[in-house]
């Protein structure tokens, strides 16, 4: 539009833009050498980003494949993931406005696109492998094995070695290192960069966007949906269009064979937020799902605990200020505030409340339970007294059943899909034969199996354990009353339990040793371990992380007492 020269051939001023970024005359189709310089002050486009924004209309090669870059691949992944989230009920703005912008910002900051000189463009991409002598004679080219080792994804040594050795025998000039244009380049330069894009990082992006929009999905839920197959992550290449051929080193980048880890995704998200220079996230207020008051309610329900406990969680939250907007809202780059794991925090609050009311020292809670049992014998009207023992038995039983199911699911987890992966075109037939055999064997033994193989994934649900008040067997404790363990004083309800034990007297430095405290099962009461285990199961996270937040909360809660104690000690010494 800004180009006003006359066409050399037909003297018209009627220009259009080619895919390569060049100008062509619309009247006579004469292509010029000039490329458009974008006047847009925000972003400076290059040919790569044009492709991204336009979609996948590319120069097609002879075999129906096209050139594609790694970042385009990740863009596609993110697109598919956010579409899946949309299908789960997330608002559509997340895709078009939030995630898209995060991604563009990332590309710009990592100089992969939207900038003057994208890094690596001058370096020759190692996508073409000519005769074997070329490979040997060029000392600057990193060996293929070296490249393969750079990727974090685990493979097996034999496949890597056979791939590397098969390549050295190639004499034709075919793109065998990777299907993408810059696969090898990507792996090579990425060693120095901390925020090189990886598959787990796509989940960090998703979580970041979810947090921005304050959607009611916690990180633990997100990861659970991924593992259950509701969000594309494993075998993501199934969603790539036919034209985008994935092979060789691409597999190292895009193929994951391990479950995403909460800590990893969480930490990366924060790094990313800081890296992208994002401003303070939208406020997490009391009406937000991620607010501890809300999450506590959800988890109390899921843990089959009395609704009455919710008053207590709110009280604790209020007392120590973890419900404050400034505490909960993420400000990237602010190193003084502790990064909040909303799900873990809420679970920890419940644990603290249970400790406050029941002590959980392997004695008191059972004592209280006996009292409640006595009272329940005589009490037939109204809501029953909450009996810890009964609750323990019911919940433990369910947990054991679910844990056993989960363990079996882990053993039966399928990592591959119908579409096979090729390292190189050379071993394509071998791979296909293998795949065929795998399918045959799976059919043969599948028919001999016990259960009916479920064809459909179960619907994603927010609750893993559910309890119904309609059950007459009394296995639902939501409506049970805490009156047996509370006493009224001056118009306030207090716990009958006068004691409390701290998980730890002194907190560790999280930055140094990674945890605020160190959890060892043998050092704590069984009841405490059980309760931690319950939430550990629900959140799919190690109990030690919940323990950390419990310690943090306790220290805030008993801050004064701890302080006074210290002062007192020093006075004594004098």
């Amino acid at each position: 539009r800004d180009f006003n020269e006359r066409c050399a051939q037909c003297s018209e001023v009627n220009w259009g833009l080619t895919d390569g970024g060049g100008f062509y005359c619309k009247s006579c189709h004469n292509v010029t050498e000039r490329t458009r310089e974008v006047v847009n002050t925000d972003f400076v486009a290059n040919s790569r980003v044009q492709r991204i924004s336009k979609g996948l209309k590319k120069q097609e090669k002879n075999d129906g494949s096209c050139e594609w870059y790694i970042c385009e691949g990740f863009q596609l992944v993110l697109k598919k993931q956010v579409e899946a989230l949309e299908a789960l009920g997330v608002c559509p703005q997340m895709k078009d406005e939030i995630l898209c912008n995060f991604w563009r910002c990332y590309l710009q900051k990592t100089k992969q696109a939207y900038c003057k000189r994208p890094a690596g463009e001058t370096v020759k991409a190692l996508s073409v492998c000519e005769s074997s002598t070329d490979v040997d004679s060029d000392p600057e080219r990193p060996s293929l094995l070296h490249l393969l080792s750079l990727s974090e994804s685990e493979g097996d040594l034999q496949t890597d070695c056979s791939f590397a050795s098969s390549l050295s025998k190639v004499s034709e000039s075919t793109s065998v290192y990777s299907g993408s244009v810059d696969g090898s380049l990507y792996l090579m330069k990425s060693q120095k960069e901390k925020l090189r894009m990886t598959m787990p990082m796509t989940l960090s992006f998703c979580y970041m966007a979810l947090l921005w929009v304050r959607e009611p999905i916690t990180l633990s839920e997100l990861l659970r949906f991924v593992v259950e197959g509701h969000i594309p992550y494993f075998n993501i290449f199934q969603h790539f269009p036919e034209k985008m051929k994935l092979c060789g080193l691409d597999l190292k980048i895009f193929c994951v064979e391990s479950w995403p880890v909460y800590e990893e995704v969480f930490n990366k998200m924060h790094e990313l937020a800081a890296f992208l220079d994002l401003p303070r996230f939208p406020d997490i207020t009391e009406s937000c799902f991620l607010h501890p008051d809300m999450l506590c309610m959800k988890y109390l329900m899921e843990a089959n605990l009395p609704d009455e406990l919710h008053n207590w969680t709110c009280r604790v939250v209020k007392k120590i200020g973890i419900g404050e907007v400034d505490f909960l809202t993420l400000t990237p780059g602010n190193k003084s505030t502790r990064k909040v794991k909303y799900d873990v925090l809420a679970a920890a609050v419940i644990v603290v409340v249970l400790k406050l009311l029941f002590l959980l020292d392997d004695h008191y809670e059972w004592l209280l339970s006996e009292f409640a049992e006595e009272r329940n014998k005589n009490n037939t009207e109204g809501s029953p007294y909450f009996e810890f023992k009964k609750w323990y038995e019911v919940v433990k039983h369910s947990m054991d059943v679910e844990q056993k199911k989960l363990d079996e699911e882990k053993a039966k987890y399928l990592w591959r899909c119908e579409k096979p992966l090729f390292y190189s075109v050379k071993n394509k037939s071998k791979v296909l034969k293998r795949r065929q055999m795998v399918v045959n064997l799976q059919n043969q033994f599948g028919k001999l199996s016990d259960s009916v193989q479920r064809a459909e994934k179960p619907n994603p649900s927010s609750f893993q354990l559910s309890w119904s008040e309609e059950n007459t067997d009394g296995s639902c404790f939501h409506g049970h009353s805490l009156k047996g363990i509370l006493q009224e004083k001056c118009g306030f309800l207090r716990a009958m339990n006068p004691d409390y034990w701290l998980c730890t007297v002194k907190l560790c430095n999280e930055k140094l040793c990674g945890h605020l405290a160190h959890y060892r099962e043998a050092e704590f009461p069984q009841s405490y371990h059980f309760v931690l285990g319950l939430f550990s199961f629900l959140l799919r996270i190690q109990p030690s992380y919940i323990h950390d937040d419990v310690c943090m909360i306790e220290h805030k809660l008993f801050n004064k007492k701890l302080y006074t104690k210290l002062k007192y000690n020093t006075v004594l010494r004098k």
Binding site: W259, K410, L441, Q442, F445, D450, P543
Partner: protein
């Protein structure tokens, strides 16, 4: 409960294998199949680092499941085996062989033979040389099946012979099977190993065609070549052959010598002792005593009346001759601490008397000599025997009483 919330390919497959293992041990074939179905994708990641890779796992586990599962047919089994043969070229012949074993167990001799022939014709570069041992086994088993066919033909021929008919065709077929079998069987038994069935069949063939020298040679090699693992059966076969050939007692005795060394409790020890007892050579008679005492050290021989009668006979003979009482003393020395409780308790006396009078007679004689007339076993038996007015027990009592000083000399 598992606190580990991480999972990767390798870990999940390891866990899967342990579930399969549990199911197999509990014979839950359906459950094993269910988990195996999930394990199968490991084939696409062949871990050659590991000692046993996925393809071998699947072969072995799949074989077990298909063999035992109620809904699995032999057709499915065979189809599976064919797939397994293509999976690992380094294992090809092994898989073939095991497949053949299964077919044989299922009574499918012809199919087994076909598979063996097919496997025999397999060639695959340097693998052929590497899998030489398996190839020899395959040839050996084919030889074995040829032997079976030979045997069948031989029986037909013998039947016809009785009827007076001679069937040339059958005879010729029989000979051709013989040639095929002999060639392969001969080969395998050259290699050090335990080849009982091959040896037996080969010897059978040789004997039929009158090649006794070769047969003898083969059996000698099998028994005495130090490269071969110690195998009691080898000596048994040799002994039986020599007996059939009517060889001298001397060679029979020498054949059983090593058997006594390896398996003192072997049932042939009775024959051995019987031969030795009758020998003119003192050393042999001495050995005989040693042999029979050694056999009776074993619990399985406690109630073997024949064995006791051998011992009793020899001891009686020694006592009467009053020569070589020191032999008995020597043998008794290491046994006097435990044989009384082991063989001659009062409880056993009662039981033996109730169940087997001959046994108790022989044992009583031995006890009387070794432990004297006052030992509880002898006393009980002789009392019972005399009460029942059985002549031989009266004789027994007299005999022991007469020779009671002997006991003193033995025990002293």
């Amino acid at each position: 409960s598992s606190n580990e919330h991480k999972l990767n390919f390798k870990k999940s497959k390891e866990t899967c294998l342990s579930y399969i293992q549990d199911a197999l041990l509990q014979k839950q074939w359906k459950r094993a199949a269910e988990f195996l179905t999930c394990y199968i994708e490991s084939l696409e990641k062949d871990y050659s680092r590991e000692h046993i890779g996925p393809s071998e796992m699947i072969w072995r586990i799949g074989t077990e499941i298909l063999w035992h599962h109620s809904q699995s047919s032999i057709k499915e089994f065979n189809c599976f085996m064919e797939q397994m043969k293509t999976l690992g070229v380094k294992r090809y012949l092994k898989v073939c062989l095991e497949h053949v074993f299964h077919l044989l167990c299922n009574g499918q001799i012809d199919e087994a033979y076909q598979n063996l022939s097919l496997a025999e014709s397999w060639r695959f570069g340097e693998q052929t040389a590497i899998q030489d041992k398996e190839m020899k086994l395959i040839q050996a088993y084919r030889g074995l099946l040829d032997y079976c066919s030979w045997s069948k033909q031989k029986n037909i021929l013998l039947e016809h012979g009785e009827d007076g008919f001679s069937d040339l065709a059958v005879e010729q077929e029989m000979h051709s099977y013989f040639r095929k079998a002999a060639v392969n069987l001969k080969e395998i038994i050259k290699i050090p190993g335990v080849w009982d069935i091959f040896v037996k069949c080969y010897v059978d063939l040789l004997e039929f065609y009158g090649d006794h020298n070769e047969a003898h040679q083969v059996l000698n090699e099998y028994a005495y070549n130090s490269k071969f693992p110690a195998n009691p059966n080898a000596h048994v076969y040799l002994y039986q052959f020599l007996k059939r050939q009517g060889e001298s007692k001397k060679s029979l005795i020498s054949a059983l010598k090593i058997l006594h060394d390896i398996v003192p409790s072997h049932e042939l020890m009775i024959d051995f002792n019987t031969m030795l007892q009758k020998s003119k050579k003192r050393k042999k008679r001495r050995l005989g005593l040693e042999v029979i005492f050694a056999a009776l050290d074993y619990a399985g021989w406690k109630e073997n009346a024949k064995a006791w009668s051998c011992l009793a006979r020899q001891m009686k003979q020694i006592v009467i001759s009053e020569k070589h009482l020191d032999w008995i003393k020597q043998e008794w020395n290491s046994r006097k601490d435990w044989w009384p409780a082991f063989h001659f308790s009062r409880y056993l006396a009662k039981r033996n008397w109730q169940e087997n009078k001959s046994l108790s007679y022989e044992k009583a004689l031995v006890a009387g000599i070794l432990l004297g007339k006052d030992c509880k076993y002898f006393k009980y038996i002789s009392h019972q025997g005399c009460k029942a007015q059985l002549k031989r027990f009266r004789m027994l009592k007299k005999f022991v009483n007469r020779h009671s000083p002997v006991y003193l000399r033995i025990s002293g």
